[in-house]
Chain length 338, copies 2
DNA sequence: AATCATTTTGTAAGTGCTTTCAAATTTTAC
DNA sequence: GTAAAATTTGAAAGCACTTACAAAATGATT
C-alpha cells in the first residue's frame, strides 16, 4: 500500500497525491477531494521513512531528561509532550542520568535520528565549565536547542526558566522578616539553577545584614531519608537553625521528618519552605509551603519559542517566567492580605 | 555526507559500507577496519530515514500512557525507557488521557510512525467492553502489543502484571486478622487492574465471613483532597470504618488527611494501606503501609518479553510478577518475624 | 477564434540506504 | 599447481516518497 496505489485508484499521478499529502495549494479542489476520498477509502498512511528521506524531518522533538521518574521532571516532560503534540510533533524521550558521557551519547543519538529540535529538561545539562558544554554547541549547530530552567548564551540555544535566584531571595527574605535568623539551606545539585537558588539565598542573608554561615548550607542527596540524616548530623554537630529552605520539595520533606524526629513543632520551632510545588508538598504533614516555579507555563513557553524558531521568526534567547510562594502549613507568615 | 562519501574514501563499494554498518559477518576484518576508520574520520552517521526505508524499522517502541506525570506511571515509563535502551531501542512517548478516541488516535499515530512495538502503560487501555478493544486488536495485527498491568487474551498481545486481586486479598485479610472489621475500600478507576483489586477486596471480606457493604466501597477522584472530602462525606452519612485500603497511594494519603481532620489516631483508630509503594508513601506522616507491585520488575519483564518476541521465540502471553506488603506506620500488625 | 497568461498536472530525477545475485578473490584439498 | 569450495566484493534494483521542470489544461483578453 503506497502512493502508487492511491494515484492509480484516483486516476492521477503520484506527484498530485504527494501534493495533497503536503497541503500544496497547487491542486484543484476537485482533484484534492478525489485523492482524499481514495486515501480514506484505502486507509492509506504515508510511509514516514520515505517521507523523512525527502523532507529530512520527521516532526519529532528529542527530549533529554535526567530521570523522568522525578516528580518535577516528569511534570515538565508531560507538559512538553502535551503541547508539542498540539503542533503535530512527537517526542523521543531519553533519560540520561548524571553522567556527562551519557548525556553526550544520547544527544548524538537524538541527532542521528534527525530530530527537529532538542529540549533539555533541567539545568543539569549545563556543565559548570563552559568548555564542557561544547556538546551542546555542536548540537545547536544542527538543530535548535531549548533548555528548561537553565541559561547559557548561544545563538541557537533558547532558554525558558524561572528566576530561581529571585524566588529564593524573596522566600528567604520573608523568613527573615518573619523573625527567623538561622536559616538552613538544603540543596543537592550544583547545576545552573542550583547555583542560582543558592546565590539567591546568600544575597538575602547578606542584604538583611546577617552573616553567611557555611554550616547552614547543607549539600544533601536527592532522598528524603538521607536528607533527614544529614540534618540530624548537622544538628548533632551544633548547627542551630529555626528555618529551612530547600532547593527541592523532596529535601524539604526530609526536613519535616527531621523535625518530627527531633520533637520540633512546625512551624513554631522550625519553618520549612520547599521548591517546585510538586505533589509531595501537599502530601506531607503539615503541608509544605513551597515556591511554585510554574513549570507548566515554562513548558508552554518553551514549545511556543520552538515553534517561532521553526517559522523563522526572531526569538529572544531567554524567557523568564514568574514564580510565587504557595503558603501552606510549614510557615506562619502574618497574613498581610489586603 | 552519505554512504557514497564513505565508500569513495575507503575505496570500497557502498554495499560493503552497508554491510559494515549492519554488522554483516561477510566482510573481511581488514576492509571492515578500513571502513570503520573512514567513518570515524568523517564523523559519518547513517541517515535513519534511508535506513528505515530499507529495513522498515527504526528500532523505536511507542509508549502509550494515560498521564506521565502520575508518579506511578512516570516510574513505569522510566524503567521501560532505561531497559529498552539497553537493547538499542528508543521510545516515543504519547500521553493520551482517558478519552478512548484519543487513545485510538495516538495508537494510529504510533503505527504510522512504524514503531516496532507498542507498550501500553496501565490497564486503563483495556476497555470494559471487549468490542471496544478492537483498536488494540488492529494494532496487534501489525506489531506486538505489550500491556503493563492488564490482561487480555490475544495472540499478539503480551501482558506483564502483578496479581492485583491476590495482593489486595492478602492485605485485606491481614487487616481482618488484625481485628479490623469495617474496612473502607477506596478506588478511582474501573480499569482492568481496578476491577481486579476490587474483587480481591470483596473476596477477602467474604472469605472472612463478613458482609459486603456497598457503602464501604468508595469511588473517588484521583486527588488526595477530593478523596479526603469524599471520606468526610461518607463518615457524615454514618459510614463506620476502622481501616482503609486504597487502590492508589494518592487515595490513601487522602485517608490520612481525613484521619488528621477527624482527630483519629493512625493506626490505632484507623489503619491505612496504600498501593504502589510510590514516593508519596514515604512522604506522608505517618509513613504509609503499602502494597509494592514491583513496577520495575514488571517493566523489565515487559521489555524482555518483547525482545523474545522480536527474536521469534514462543513467549507466554501473560507473565505475573509477585508483590509484597511494605509495612510502615499506618498499620500495627503484630510483628511475627521469625 | 486566436493568443497569451495562469493554473493544474505529470514525468523523471533525486533522497540514502539495504539486499540480491553474480563476479572476483581467497582458501582448501588433492 | 590446479580445481573446487568458500569467502569476499560490487553492480544494480528496490524502498516510498518529494520536487523541479516541462507539458497540458484552463481561463482571460482581444
Amino acid at each position: 500500500m503506497n502512493i502508487y496505489d492511491v494515484s492509480h485508484k484516483a486516476g492521477v499521478s503520484i506527484a498530485t497525491v504527494s501534493r495533497v499529502l503536503n497541503g500544496n495549494p497547487n491542486v484543484s479542489p476537485k482533484t484534492r477531494q478525489k485523492v482524499l476520498d481514495v486515501m480514506q477509502e484505502l486507509g492509506y498512511t504515508p510511509n514516514v521513512f520515505a517521507r523523512g528521506l525527502g523532507l529530512n524531518t520527521m516532526k519529532t522533538i528529542g527530549i533529554l531528561c535526567l530521570d523522568s521518574s522525578d516528580p518535577f521532571l516528569a511534570n515538565a516532560v508531560y507538559y512538553l509532550e502535551q503541547n508539542l503534540r498540539k503542533y503535530g510533533y512527537d517526542i523521543i524521550l531519553c533519560c540520561t542520568g548524571y553522567d556527562l558521557k551519557n548525556k553526550q551519547k544520547y544527544l548524538d543519538l537524538l541527532l542521528s535520528k534527525r530530530v527537529d529540535a532538542v529540549i533539555l529538561v533541567g539545568s543539569s545539562f549545563l556543565e559548570p565549565q563552559r568548555k564542557d558544554n561544547t556538546y551542546l554547541f555542536q548540537a545547536a549547530a544542527s538543530v535548535p536547542v531549548i533548555i528548561i530552567n537553565g541559561y547559557i548564551n548561544h545563538p541557537n540555544i533558547y532558554c525558558a526558566l524561572c528566576d530561581d535566584a529571585q524566588a529564593v531571595f524573596d522566600a528567604t527574605t520573608k523568613l527573615i522578616e518573619n523573625g527567623r535568623t538561622n536559616i538552613l539551606y538544603l540543596y543537592h545539585s550544583k547545576s545552573y539553577s542550583g547555583q542560582q537558588k543558592l546565590s539567591g539565598y546568600k544575597e538575602a542573608i547578606l542584604s538583611a545584614g546577617l552573616k553567611l554561615d557555611e554550616n547552614l548550607m547543607l549539600l544533601c542527596k536527592n532522598d528524603m531519608h538521607q536528607t533527614k540524616e544529614a540534618i540530624t548530623e548537622a544538628a548533632a554537630n551544633g548547627v542551630k537553625f529555626d528555618a529551612v529552605i530547600a532547593a527541592e520539595d523532596l529535601l524539604a520533606v526530609g526536613a519535616i521528618k527531621y523535625a518530627k524526629q527531633a520533637g520540633l513543632k512546625i512551624p513554631k520551632d522550625l519553618a520549612v519552605i520547599g521548591y517546585n510545588n510538586s505533589l509531595l508538598s501537599s502530601c506531607c504533614e503539615p503541608e509544605l509551603t513551597t515556591i511554585d516555579n510554574h513549570i507548566e507555563t515554562i513548558s508552554i513557553t518553551a514549545v511556543n519559542t520552538l515553534m517561532r524558531v521553526f517559522s523563522g521568526n526572531d526569538v529572544p534567547n531567554r524567557t523568564t517566567i514568574s514564580n510565587d510562594l504557595v503558603e501552606r502549613g510549614t510557615t506562619d507568615f502574618a497574613k498581610n492580605e489586603i
